[in-house]
């Protein structure tokens, strides 16, 4: 049955005017309610040398104590440690995952330092891609572990970026949103800080490192993002200890020469970092990760596997060809494996057969040997038996002869006794 669908092209989209209140202005609220019930995910990756203050900064940012033991400097290589926490503020549930690079910058040979980090990020993309490509998938309650923001901690040398920093950032900039920050900023004086920041930014630009750009296309946030961008990289100080300042307690670091207040904008850029990272751009960071970095990864991965998008006419065919080719390859492999297995099986069977035959032969030999021994024994026994019988016969003969003699002797004796008795009896007739 023919289905004719009259559908105007996009240019003819009319803006209709409404003659009354329809009520779909509640749509953003409906959307927000849905998202609230599902909860949000946010994953931060902290890249920086051991002891530069990553854990402390996280504690300070989220106003809580994520318990962790300080890392040693003896790690043989860089490894990533991921921890997940669930935070709740009013009715918003946030699943926060903080990934730490343990042992970064501690090795003598730092050539491969960036590799575990890149592998980790790729692994998260891979996991999401696999879930997306499953036949039966459940994306809406999938725990998203893709890294949304990477805080790169720059050591406060005051001069310029280290080559390790440049190399690592260059490897990461197409995979994750990088926000560079200067750690332990209380060790740099104000005038040095300004020079340091401009040096860093110019080095990043000249090396082509693409850091995260705060979005300026939305009127509500464009202004604040633009003003904050000027202060990149943020010079931060982290502290979870509170010091009494005036009549309030505030997070600060106390030195003999003064107190560095974390939330004082004159002292450090911590407040700016918190604004940018959490209060203004968290959603944009997640969106960029999903629509830019993840799509790039997906595209590269699928192209690597041999899929192509040509123009719509030949798309089914090229995919079909790839499909057929891969299928044949796969079947061929299967066949080869089957052949191999079969051959091995036959070989094994033969071996076993030979073994068994050997064993059989051995058994036969043993049996023959036993039989012979048995026969020998039997013969011996027979001989002995004959001997015994002969002896018995001899004995019987002798016994018979002896008995004869005895009876003869008895008879003779008996005659003698009778004679004696008669002799005794006659003279003595009436002695009793």
């Amino acid at each position: 049955m023919a289905v004719a669908v009259g559908r105007p092209s996009n240019e003819e989209l009319r803006n209709l005017s409404l003659s009354g209140h329809v009520g779909f202005d509640s749509l953003p609220d409906q959307l927000v309610n849905k998202s609230t019930s599902q909860g949000f995910c946010f994953n931060i990756l902290c890249v920086g040398e051991t002891g530069i203050g990553k854990s402390t900064l996280m504690d300070t940012l989220f106003n809580t104590k994520f318990e962790s033991d300080p890392a040693t400097h003896n790690e043989p290589g860089v490894r990533l440690k991921a921890r997940s926490y669930e935070l709740q503020e009013s009715n918003v549930r946030l699943k926060l995952t903080i990934v730490d690079t343990v042992g970064f910058g501690d090795q003598i040979n730092k050539d491969d330092s960036y590799k575990p980090i890149v592998e980790y990020i790729d692994a998260q993309f891979e996991a999401y891609l696999q879930e997306e490509l499953k036949i039966k998938r459940s994306l809406f309650n999938y725990h998203d572990t893709r890294i949304h923001a990477c805080l790169y901690f720059i050591a406060p040398t005051g001069h310029s970026l280290k080559s390790l920093d440049l190399v690592t950032m260059k490897k990461l900039d197409s995979k994750v949103n990088i926000i560079p920050i200067i750690a332990k900023a209380d060790t740099i004086a104000k005038n040095e800080l300004h020079k340091f920041k401009s040096k860093i930014m110019s080095e990043l630009v000249s090396n082509g490192v693409q850091i995260y750009q705060f979005p300026t296309d939305e009127e509500t946030v464009a202004e604040i993002n633009a003003t904050m961008s000027v202060h990149l990289p943020f010079a931060v100080v982290g502290s979870t200890e509170e010091v009494k300042i005036g009549n309030k307690m505030a997070k600060a670091r106390q030195y003999p020469w003064g107190v560095v207040q974390v939330e004082n904008e004159n002292h450090c850029d911590f407040v700016k970092l918190r604004e940018m990272l959490i209060r203004v751009n968290m959603e944009d960071l997640r969106e960029q990760t999903h629509t830019r970095h993840y799509e790039l990864y997906r595209r590269c991965k699928l192209e690597e596997m041999g899929f192509k998008d040509t123009d719509p006419d030949s798309k089914p065919f090229s995919l079909q060809e790839t499909y057929e080719a891969k299928r044949n390859e796969f079947l061929g492999e299967l066949q080869k494996k089957e052949e191999e297995m079969r051959q091995m099986f036959v070989m094994r069977v033969k071996e076993k057969e030979a073994e068994l035959k050997e064993a059989e032969k051995e058994l036969h030999e043993k049996f023959d040997l036993l039989k012979r021994t048995h026969q020998d024994e039997k013969k011996k026994v027979e001989d002995k038996k004959k001997e015994l019988e002969e002896e018995v016969n001899n004995f019987q003969k002798k016994k018979a002869a002896a008995q004869l003699l005895q009876s003869q002797a008895q008879q003779a004796g008996a005659q003698q006794t009778k004679k004696d008795k008669d002799k005794k009896n006659s003279p003595w007739l009436c002695t009793e």
Partner: protein, 370 residues
């Protein structure tokens, strides 16, 4: 409160498992809740999309209902059927508009089905409708499977289908039942009693009960589906709605003067039937359900359940290997695939781990190297 530590083994690709971690207590305001405002701003900027389809026989007031729902002349042309000969085949007719209210932009697409059920032989008259719905799913699937995807895939999938039941007063007709059975597996269906001003209140109740019984007998699950209720609040709210389904509605796009107020209604010799008046008809319930409270939910169920079901069916059908890793064959869907019914399988929260087949084998991207 100590957060549970989750340190995966130090291998090159550690992936933290889904955390069932205990919540952390925060000692001060961090500002996480501002993410809601960020979401709102982003949503208002990109705008919303909504696609609605109205299905029913000619003359039941579908076009008028759409106009009443969105308070505007959605249809450019005059009502079909007035002086125009009956279309020989079922033709679906779509119109897209952008409407804005208080800064919220909504791209609305309404699909009408003139000629449905009008022929003498209505056998398989649902096929064009199902074909259209599945075609939209197919379009979205093709877009989703591209290597280079668009940033925002245009969503033309039908989010809601409003089915107009003629006000016979008796029960559902076989045509209704057949169509509803097939539609409910593919799309969210909201049945309404059209032209309810021809029934009295008591007749409406009787009709409604009979229809509900019919739906139960034939296992037709209309929106809001019972199996997708997320928690107890949802269930309570949705049960109230389910009690009143199907809504008895009246559509009108003319305004009349009643008691000094200007109201939308139908004027007859014996009175004015006010559309917005709950005592007269249940149009406000329909409008609230579709627009004010459950619009996002309709879209979510379409995306998470109906589209996923379609996708599973398509990917399984193109699997030539019986089991194991295979490669997606994206030959264009045959017409049978587009109209064959599929069982409503996926529940919103899949608790049991049904077998997970991979459409693309990722473990061995290069078979030779394994």
């Amino acid at each position: 409160m100590d957060p549970l530590k989750r340190s995966p083994p130090p291998c090159p690709s550690p992936r933290p498992s889904s955390p069932r971690t205990q919540p952390c207590e925060m000692l001060g305001h961090v500002g996480i809740e501002t993410v809601l405002d960020q979401l709102k701003i982003k949503a208002m900027k990109t705008g919303f999309e909504f696609n609605i389809m109205v299905v029913g026989q000619t003359g039941l007031g579908k076009s008028t209902m759409v106009n009443t729902l969105f308070r505007s002349k959605v249809w450019k042309s005059t009502h079909p059927g007035t002086g125009v000969s009956m279309p020989q085949t079922l033709q679906l007719h779509s119109e897209t508009h952008v409407i804005e209210e208080k800064g919220v932009k909504l791209k609305l697409t309404v699909t009408d089905t003139p000629g449905f059920g009008d022929q003498i032989n209505n056998d398989k008259c649902w096929e064009p409708i199902l074909g259209y719905i599945n075609e939209q799913y197919e379009r979205y699937l093709q877009e989703e499977l591209l290597i280079t995807r668009q940033r925002h895939i245009p969503d033309t999938r039908v989010h809601c289908c409003v089915y107009f039941v003629p006000p016979t007063g008796h029960c559902l007709r076989p045509l209704d039942i057949e169509l509803l059975q097939r539609l409910c597996r593919t799309v969210n269906v909201v049945p309404v009693i059209a032209r309810a001003d021809s029934l009295t209140i008591e007749e409406r109740e009787v009709f409604r009960n009979r229809i509900q019984q019919n739906l139960k007998t034939h296992c037709i699950e209309v929106y809001p589906q019972k199996c997708f209720d997320e928690d107890i609040n949802d269930r309570i709210l949705n049960s109230k709605i389910r009690d009143r389904i199907p809504f008895a509605v009246v559509g009108a796009d003319r305004e009349h003067l009643v008691d000094g107020r200007c109201v939308l209604g139908r004027k007859t010799k014996w009175g004015v039937i006010e559309v917005e008046n709950m005592a007269h008809c249940e149009f406000p319930l329909l409008r609230d359900l579709l627009i004010r409270s459950h619009l996002q939910d309709l879209k979510d169920i379409t995306h998470n359940v109906h589209y996923e079901n379609y996708r599973v069916g398509r990917l399984n059908a193109s699997h030539l290997l019986p089991r194991g890793p295979g490669w997606v064959n994206l030959a264009p869907a045959t017409p049978e695939q587009l109209t064959s019914p599929r069982p409503l399988r996926a529940c919103r929260r899949p608790h049991d781990d049904s077998e997970e087949e991979s459409g693309l084998s990722m473990a061995n991207p290069r078979p030779a190297s394994s």
